[in-house]
């Protein structure tokens, strides 16, 4: 039984823990009397002059109540504290760093242990009133804190790296504009660009939104860190594709509005459908795997082959340059996702379950992604080959990872 008391106009409420059953006025007053706030004075309940043997429940006092205390007598200055009870063994709490303890890298220092754990103060009945929850993904981990992204990126290194990348890209745009380079592009390439380049901003913006969700709900600061930089990169990519379309629009007609191809052209609809379906996945782990392992690699291979493949480069060195800069980010992303999947499938406790889930997702989503990509590629043989390669890479890398699952090998 927990009861609070206070001396009005003198002290703030204090907690007293009493026996759940049979606690008396005397039990409570004993604690109040011993407390430093009583300053050695006589104490009594303000509400009743009941004897000390009276049960608190008989006075209508129940768990959680706050009672006023009256004091009488002269306050006694409280002296130094005297030890009470058994001393605790400090040595059991102290750990001396041993020789050879690994020094943390700056990435580790900036990323570790930033996400706190239950019990949370807020845990309302609605899903949106949950801080973080194991049930936010069907994937399970014995230790979410074990994840490390191979790029070891944190904010300081991220902005430094991407500022450098964007300086190069800006130079490329400026060079193309000043040299009037796009005025001489191959007509066939121009047609492809009209059909493709404007709409390219949408799939990457979709991936960006996907990573917003993953970053919110991921179960450790390590995973959220990797996902958030992928999220911001996807904004970069969407805006680079958009800027590429704008640059073409400075020279040619047909680049004014990116929306019609994306919303209406038949060849784009499979991709749009898949991106929209991807955005309905509220399981952050599933979204991370499908978005990063299947959708992004297959689609990027398709897009870059169509607009920057060897066939269409005549007269346009800007587009391959931009695609290369984007591709460098995407390689990092795939390595981060691969590290996540490896952690999932090799989990000593949950690896088998995780493997089954991931295999099922690949089985469901990879054919749809490949079919959508093929539709966009049309009869472009080089791009169809790139799609087949991307398809094979997903299958091969999944097989290699599943093979690494100890229980399955």
């Amino acid at each position: 039984m927990l009861v609070f008391t206070r001396i009005p106009h003198e002290s703030a409420p204090e907690a007293h823990l009493l026996a759940p059953e049979g606690a008396t006025v005397g039990d409570l007053l004993d604690q109040v009397r011993r407390a430093r706030s009583a300053r050695g004075r006589e104490v009594a309940l303000a509400v009743a002059s009941a004897g000390e043997a009276t049960l608190l429940t008989e006075l209508g006092i129940s768990d959680g109540d706050l009672l006023d205390i009256t004091v009488s007598g002269t306050p006694v200055p409280m002296g130094p504290d005297e030890p009470v009870g058994e001393p605790i063994d400090f040595s059991s709490l102290i750990v001396t760093p041993t020789a050879g303890t690994k020094r943390l890298t700056e990435y580790e220092e900036m990323t570790q242990l930033l996400q706190w754990h239950e019990p949370f103060h807020i845990e309302g009945p609605r899903p949106s009133q949950t801080v973080w929850s194991e049930s936010s993904t069907v994937l399970q981990s014995s230790n979410w804190e074990a994840y490390r992204t191979p790029d070891k990126m944190y904010y300081r290194t991220y902005v430094a790296k991407q500022a450098r990348a964007d300086r190069s890209v800006s130079t490329a745009f400026r060079f193309a504009e000043e040299s009037d380079q796009l005025a001489q592009v191959d007509p066939q390439h121009l047609e492809i660009m009209r059909r493709i380049v404007g709409a390219l901003q949408y799939p990457d913006w979709g991936l960006c939104m996907l990573h917003q969700h993953i970053t919110r709900f991921a179960m450790s600061s390590w995973i959220a860190g990797a996902s958030s930089f992928m999220m911001f990169d996807e904004l970069r990519h969407a805006q680079l594709y958009g800027r590429l379309a704008l640059t073409y629009g400075e020279v040619y007609e047909g680049f004014e509005d990116p929306r019609p191809p994306w919303m209406d052209y038949p060849e784009w609809q499979g991709i749009r459908r898949l991106i929209e379906e991807l955005l309905t996945i509220l399981d952050w782990g599933k979204a991370f795997v499908i978005g990063g392992m299947i959708v992004e690699p297959v689609f990027t291979a398709t897009f870059h082959s169509l607009i920057a493949g060897a066939r269409g480069r005549d007269g346009d060195t800007l587009t391959p340059f931009i695609c290369q800069s984007i591709a460098e980010d995407k390689v990092r992303h795939r390595e981060s996702v691969t590290a996540f999947i490896e952690m999932m499938v090799t989990d000593p406790e949950h690896g088998r379950t995780n493997s089954s889930l991931i295999e099922a997702w690949v089985e469901e989503w990879l054919p749809a992604a490949v079919a959508a990509a093929r539709t966009l590629a049309g009869g472009d043989e080089a791009t169809l080959t790139m799609i087949e390669d991307a398809h094979a890479r997903v299958i091969d890398s999944l097989a290699a990872m599943i093979q690494a699952t100890p229980e399955l090998s």
Binding site: L2, F4, R6, H9, A12, P13, E14, A15, R36, S62, G64, D65, L66, P77, M78, G79, D81, V84, F90, L93, V95, L104, E109, M110, L114, W116, E118, P119, F120, H121, I122, G124, S128, V131, Y155, R156, V159, A163, D166, R167, Q201, W205, Q212, H213, T215, R216, S228, M231, F232, L235, R236, A238, Q239, G242, R243, L246, E250, P258, R273, E276
Partner: protein, 488 residues
């Protein structure tokens, strides 16, 4: 193409309305805002920043910040920071790290579920800023720890403190509340109330005090953080204005959220920044009350909120109570910390003559209300806390405000349980959304009763019978070794 058009083309036009999945699948009702706007797509972010501009500006800011930081670490400036101020940083730095980290994780949710394309982009950029701020404070902690080892929480121990220690639960509960709101409530709570009204206390007044006490690194970190906050404030102000202007049905929501977050911010900042300005700073350029008056009352209430009164917005519901509390808040917090200093990991000093003279000058009610307490301490009386306080079920600060002799404690019975609130503001917050604030763990006094002594030691740094394990008298090596206790 003009820059504004280019911005629209590269941000707003990224958005499309899905047709292959339902709107409810795309943004489930559970995660949607209750606010309405005729056309969310027409809302404009006042800062309009593109990725390439953001990354360039932020990289430059990072270079400048780390140059000052590196110089401070290399030439030992940090070693010469006033020792009292360093004690304050042991607590404040940990609290800020996690508050910034929350905002990072919280604002990506706003980005995902907010209905306006411009809010999505701006919130995502803000999330990256918040991630930056969390990192800046970790860098600072590293630097402090290099020169001030005694009891300074090293990064690897910070989580244990944030999760368990009583002194940080007020901050923790604040941010858990903020991360679980309607997405527009998150913007009103964070960008409008917290950042526009209150972070000037933290990122302008506190750095001024830091620099006055030799902490140039703190000054540089927080001023560079504040340069990002300016963008966030502009977003919060623009969102509030657009919603109030666009649809009168938004007014009750905006008013409700302004009222709620004003009170929660007041409670948190008073307990955190109040002692920093009024006590930890030996050289005191501004009192908490003066900073509150200038930034919260004059700039925010009399400036911004008054300007929006044309749309019906009123001053926060519990403004008068906050103004009355500011007379006492930092002193009450300091007395509480002093009495509990043996369970803290930083030193809480007894005010000296110069402090008392300044406190009496700045706070006319100081001597009448708090003078006896400090005279008792000077006379050698033991004022150390030997009992558990009643803790507010909303803000998770002890029920000691405005000051211990007049402590407010309001009961509310909900679902068969008696809850206690420290103020009218917290009681109002509880009653409007009781389900959200239902207790997830027993009050500390009960939690401690059943626990292993080592667990208790790590929860509160005290033994079950109330004896100190920590504080500045902690044995060497105690804090750095503290592991994260297992959940119970």
């Amino acid at each position: 193409m003009k820059p504004a058009e280019q911005y629209q083309r590269l941000t707003h036009s990224l958005h499309w309305d899905p047709t292959y999945v339902s709107g409810d699948a795309y943004i489930p009702e559970e995660w949607r805002t209750v606010c309405t706007m005729v056309d969310w797509k027409k809302f404009n972010d006042p800062f309009q920043i593109l990725f390439e501009d953001y990354i360039r500006i932020q990289a430059e800011k990072e270079e400048k910040y780390h140059a000052v930081r590196d110089a401070g670490a290399r030439f030992g400036h940090i070693a010469r920071v006033d020792p009292r101020w360093v004690e304050g940083m042991k607590s404040l730095n940990t609290g800020i790290t996690y508050s910034e980290y929350y905002n990072y994780r919280g604002h990506v949710r706003v980005a995902r579920f907010a209905p306006a394309p411009a809010i999505r982009i701006a919130s995502m950029v803000q999330a990256m800023d918040e991630r930056r701020h969390a990192e800046e404070t970790i860098f600072q902690a590293k630097d402090y720890a290099k020169y001030h080892s005694g009891g300074f929480t090293l990064p690897k121990d910070r989580m244990a403190f944030f999760e368990r220690h009583w002194a940080l639960q007020g901050g923790r509960s604040f941010f858990e509340d903020l991360i679980t709101t309607d997405p527009i409530e998150a913007i009103i709570g964070t960008n409008l109330v917290f950042e526009t009204a209150f972070t000037n206390l933290l990122f302008i007044a506190a750095p001024a005090a830091g620099v006055a006490n030799g902490d140039y690194g703190f000054g540089q970190a927080h001023l560079t953080i504040q340069s990002d906050e300016t963008r966030h404030m502009a977003l919060g102000q623009a969102v509030a204005r657009a919603l109030l202007q666009g649809d009168e049905r938004n007014l009750p929501h905006i008013q409700d959220w302004v009222d709620k977050w004003f009170w929660r911010c007041h409670r948190l900042l008073q307990g955190v920044v109040g002692p920093t300005l009024d006590y930890f700073a030996r050289v005191k350029p501004v009192s908490y009350k003066e900073a509150f008056t200038r930034y919260v009352v004059e700039d925010f209430i009399q400036g911004y909120v008054s300007e929006l009164s044309q749309f019906g917005l009123q001053a926060p519901r519990h403004l008068d109570q906050a103004l009355a509390e500011v007379e006492h808040g930092s002193h009450t917090a300091w007395r509480g910390m002093y009495s509990s200093r043996n369970s803290l990991w930083y030193d809480v000093h007894q005010p000296d003559d110069a402090d008392l003279e300044w406190l009496n000058e700045k706070y006319p009610l100081f001597d009448e209300t708090h003078g006896d307490f400090w005279r008792s301490v000077r006379a050698g009386e033991n004022v150390d806390s030997d009992s558990m306080p009643m803790t507010c079920d909303v803000c998770h600060f002890p029920c000691v405000y405005p000051h211990p002799a007049a402590a407010v404690a309001h009961p509310v019975d909900y679902d068969g349980v008696r809850y206690w609130m420290c103020s009218d503001g917290c009681k109002w917050i509880f009653e409007r959304e009781s389900n959200k604030y239902r207790r997830t763990q027993e009050p500390s006094a009960l939690v401690l009763a059943d626990k292993d002594p080592l667990w208790v030691a790590q929860f509160l740094n005290i033994t079950p019978d109330g004896k100190s394990l920590g504080g500045t008298r902690a044995p060497e090596g105690f804090f750095p070794a503290m592991p994260v206790p297992a959940p119970f």
